[in-house]
């Protein structure tokens, strides 16, 4: 029989996780000897917490939260792979507003999710903008304030928002990646407890192998599965087919790595550690464990 | 007072002209209650006129519709289709707004959170009259009903009879020109009851208040009223209207006069006649 393994995702079912869906549907986890339980995420789902309670064996997490849980709370997490080489975290605005760099945010109103507030402030600082030069208000996933001009920019993933704003308001939108403005880091980091890494190494390798296969399959046929899953995995997730396609296409560049998806090159790890340092979270190389990647 | 209409005119369905102003006109007013078990006919359509300043007593068996009639006059129940009630040529809802109506229900209905004095003063507040200016009235009424010393007591701290007396005082506090009393003395002992009878006569005489008194005391009815309306039950209707001939003011000694007893007996008979042909 297959070994049960539960995988905590970080958000609801959308193209961001299509690689895993492909692997599930093709039976590649089963082939690897795994009985995978896929747990979708949501605003109340904190993947690291799922790891801590044992609800999940593997989770997709964010860098800063994971690192600070390790350094400040004594959690024993290991990041064993990075889905996104470059995090889609961006400052998104209407082109007409004329925001072409972080500096241009001076005097503007920005909607920022409270969770990203600290990081965003560091980003401002790195670009020579002081906190009092920008008016920051909470952002709750809704593009309406941007489209209607209630705010000048929002902090969000660029994988769908710019497209949606253009679609709904007819105005062109643009984005500035955090990655390109002094805060390079990855996203949807594959994270496990150190203990799991020891005891279930084989299963973890099998998981990573199958997942990579899923993503490779997606990269090879970027539109096929997005369309195919419209009425299965993506049913009821709110996306229009066009938005889903946009999402699927645009995320590929942020994920691809010559060494295969999930790769964590030394250079990349250094960049992430540097970012952690800038936002004031203590961390070192031991946060990352590249040994699994080497076995793939 | 002596200009009372003959009994016939009172019961006549087509109310004829009477001498002097008429305060209450009840014209073919019946009352049927709708209940889950079907309609309940409380009152057959009845007609009655009460001249200004008259004292009318209403007697009849339990459940014959006395309270219902009184509540219709107060505008608390609407007569069935086809009937009408007018008080001083106005709809009861209109009339009662003028503050000329005084009423004591069969149940004292005191507000449990108000003291005796505040309960007595309650109608003043409803009518928007300044309570302060009427404090002396309130106090004198409380004394009239023998509750001096209980001004600040709450209803829960009173005996049954005391509560009823608060309700009597309350019915008088607005100095009404039309007074409706539904068995106001039912919970009082005979001595107090007699005393209250005398007081009521005094107040009525002084103000010429048009008064309708529902009572089970035949002697009380005869002692106080110009006219006694006898009702029968099933269905509720007016059986007879009897004029009381005794001169005013009537003294307590009247209670022991043979004429008085004769009239009481006559009324008892009329009440008994219920099972008769009518």
């Amino acid at each position: 029989a297959e070994a049960p393994l539960s995988f905590q995702s970080i958000w609801i079912n959308d193209p961001e996780f299509i690689g895993y869906f492909i692997a599930i549907d093709k039976g590649w986890y089963k082939e690897g000897g795994l009985d995978l339980t896929y747990l979708p995420g949501g605003p109340d789902v904190i993947p690291q917490a799922s790891l801590l309670t044992g609800k999940a064996d593997i989770a997709l997490t964010s860098l800063i939260e994971t690192a600070s849980a390790v350094s400040e709370k004594g959690a024993t997490f290991k990041i064993i792979g990075a889905q996104f080489q470059k995090s889609p975290d961006s400052v998104i605005s209407l082109e007409a507003t004329g925001i072409k760099s972080i500096k241009d945010l001076v005097g503007k109103t920005v909607a920022c999710p409270p969770l990203s507030l600290g990081t965003f402030k560091v980003l401002l600082g790195l670009n020579g903008v002081t906190e009092d030069q920008v008016k920051i208000v909470p952002y709750a996933f809704d593009p309406t304030p941007l489209a209607t001009g209630q705010v000048d920019a929002v902090v969000d993933f660029m994988t769908s928002l710019p497209f949606i704003v253009e679609q709904t308001s007819g105005k062109k939108a643009s984005y500035l990646l955090f990655y390109d403005f002094g805060l390079p880091f990855g996203q949807d980091l594959v994270t496990v407890n150190e203990e799991t890494l020891k005891t279930r190494r084989k299963d973890i390798v099998a998981f990573m192998r199958a997942s990579r296969k899923g993503w490779d399959e997606d990269f090879a046929n970027p539109e096929k599965y997005t369309k195919e899953y419209e009425n299965t995995w993506f049913k009821g997730n709110g996306y229009t087919p066009e938005a889903a396609l946009f999402h699927s296409r645009i995320q590929v560049d942020l994920m691809k790595n010559p060494n295969g998806v999930f790769a964590m090159d030394d250079d990349w790890i250094e960049k992430n550690l540097a970012t952690l340092d800038k936002v004031g979270v203590k961390a070192d190389k031991s946060l990352f464990d590249t040994s699994i990647l080497k076995e793939l | 007072m002596n200009a009372l209409p003959a009994p016939e005119s009172l019961t006549s369905p087509h109310v004829p002209e009477t001498v002097g102003p008429v305060d209450v006109i009840i014209d073919q007013a019946g009352k049927t209650f709708q209940t889950a078990r079907g309609p309940v006919r409380a009152l057959d359509p009845i007609s009655l006129k009460i001249p200004r300043g008259a004292f009318v007593a209403l007697i009849g068996p339990s459940g014959c519709g006395k309270s219902t009639l009184l509540r219709m006059i107060a505008g608390l129940e609407q007569p069935d289709e086809g009937g009408a009630v007018l008080v001083r040529s106005k709809h009861p809802e209109q009339f009662r707004k003028e503050g000329e109506l005084g009423i004591a229900f069969q149940d004292p209905a005191l507000l449990p959170w108000r003291s005796v004095a505040d309960n007595v003063a309650f109608p003043l507040q409803i009518l928007g009259r300044p309570v302060k200016r009427h404090q002396a009235t309130v106090q004198s009424l409380i004394e009239l009903v023998g509750l001096k010393g209980y001004e600040q007591a709450l209803p829960g701290q009173l005996s049954g009879g005391m509560r009823q007396r608060v309700a009597i005082a309350r019915s008088l506090v607005t100095d009404p020109s039309v007074l409706l009393l539904d068995e106001p003395f039912g919970a009082l002992d005979q001595i107090l009851r007699r005393a209250m009878n005398v007081e009521l006569q005094r107040i009525w005489a002084a103000r010429q208040t048009t008064t309708l008194l529902v009572t089970h005391g035949i002697d009380e009815a005869v002692f106080l009223a110009d006219t006694v309306v006898v009702m029968h039950a099933k269905p509720g209707r007016i059986a007879e209207i009897i004029t009381v001939p005794f001169a005013r003011p009537r003294l307590p000694s009247l209670f022991s006069s043979p004429d008085f007893h004769a009239l009481c007996d006559r009324l008892t008979e009329s009440l008994h006649g219920e099972d008769g042909s009518q």
Binding site: E65, G236 | A109, G156
Partner: protein
Amino acid sequence: MIAPSTRENARILFGTLIFFAVWEFIGATTSWGVAMVPAPSRILMQAFADRELYWLHGSATIQTSAIGFAIGVTVAVVAALLFCLSPGLELAFRGINIALFAMPAIVIGPLLVLFLKGDWPQTVLAALMVYFPAMSATLLGLRAVDPRIADLVAAYGGGEGKLMRYVRLRGALPDLFAGFRVAAPLAVLGAVLGEFGSGTRWGFGAFLLSALPQGNPARLWGIGLASSAIALAGYALFLLPARRLSASSTAVTLAAVQTAARSNGGWNWQRVTLAGVSVALPFVIWWLAVTLSHVSPIIAPGPGRTLMFLIEGRQAAGARAALLTALGQTLPIALLGLLAGLAFAFVLAALSLLAPAVARALLPIALVAQNMPLVAVVPFVVLVFGRDVTASVFMAMLVVFFPAYVLLHQGFTTVPRAASDLVSAYGGGRWKQLVHIAIPYSIGHLFAAARLVAPQALLGVMVAEWLLSGVGLGNLLNISRGGLDYDMIWAGALISILISVAAYEAVGFIERKVGR
């Protein structure tokens, strides 16, 4: 001749038509209308296009809220029975009761998701939101016994058991149904909130979450209105039996003594002990749960660790400062929201006496607004109120007014005929009825309403802070949860619960003062 009520209804119908016409016009023609207040026709067309999704999501939400409601209400009724039979028990459990109700969804949501599987996180959240209001209202009804009837039962040797069985249970039905009317929409709200956060695929909460980033206001409004409609259906379901009951439930005559719905016994040592138990019990249960479940203390610190977090160590001063600052921002607004919500509830309940037709016209709008998922109305609220104090007060008011309204309205309808007849006989109109009879008669319901919604106000403000203003306790807890700072979350939850308990007791204190 047209009856005045018919004319009034016609006017209201006309007003409603105008309302929709204006909405349609604004929603179709103005740019901000198109973006934020889509025209009714557009909402309907979108809903038609989405009909299959509505079916899938709607049936999930209905099922979750129905099960949550059933669980919450069952526990509530059993608890109310026990508390009625043993007032000491009620006192001892007061801490737990309020804690269950005042536990911020921001805190409880992630915990439920962690420890429960399947649909249970949202089901339990619905049950939790249902429990306290249903229990409070039922208890209020159980305790209010006509003293004359109590004497009768006693005279025939009947004890508390017989009184309960034959008098309290039946007498409590109207209040019980009022509790259900409060609880049914809250169950839907809880379910939607749970679905929103838990990562489940089906349910209006999930639908809302997925629609939110898609910039489709017509769909957003459609989802909001649809979940509001489910909530209202729950409310209406329990309005019907209440209407039928109320006629046969109020005494014919006025009792000379009003029952004190709450025991206002003095502070003897027994009460002091029970009050102590009431404070200690939540901590004991907390400690037991944490100890027995072996959860990582990072996520579930025990009471000791949480207190230490605030008292000891290098970060304690910082934590205290952060909490104090947050409270300084949150509390004044919560108080304002509480007062505004109570005032609005009062006005609406009063209108149902003073101008029933107006109340009938206003009520649906107010109830729909109250039951709209808050996230869906955020852009609209920002448009109208901006993001400062007014907006937060408005959001708190939205949360507060509904339970308060239902209880107040229930109180107003229990006035015996004898009392209102008295006012009518002296020509007093509806206003006098309200001031002199309905309010003093239902003073127990009034305070019950205030006690019930005091914790709610705090929660409402916290939601507003999380979604709108980005300050205060709501924001602090939200940020902490992302940073896995569960010490701060539990400390914040502890403090908000303590404040809720204090508010609850403060209302009780005022009630005892007023009731002499």
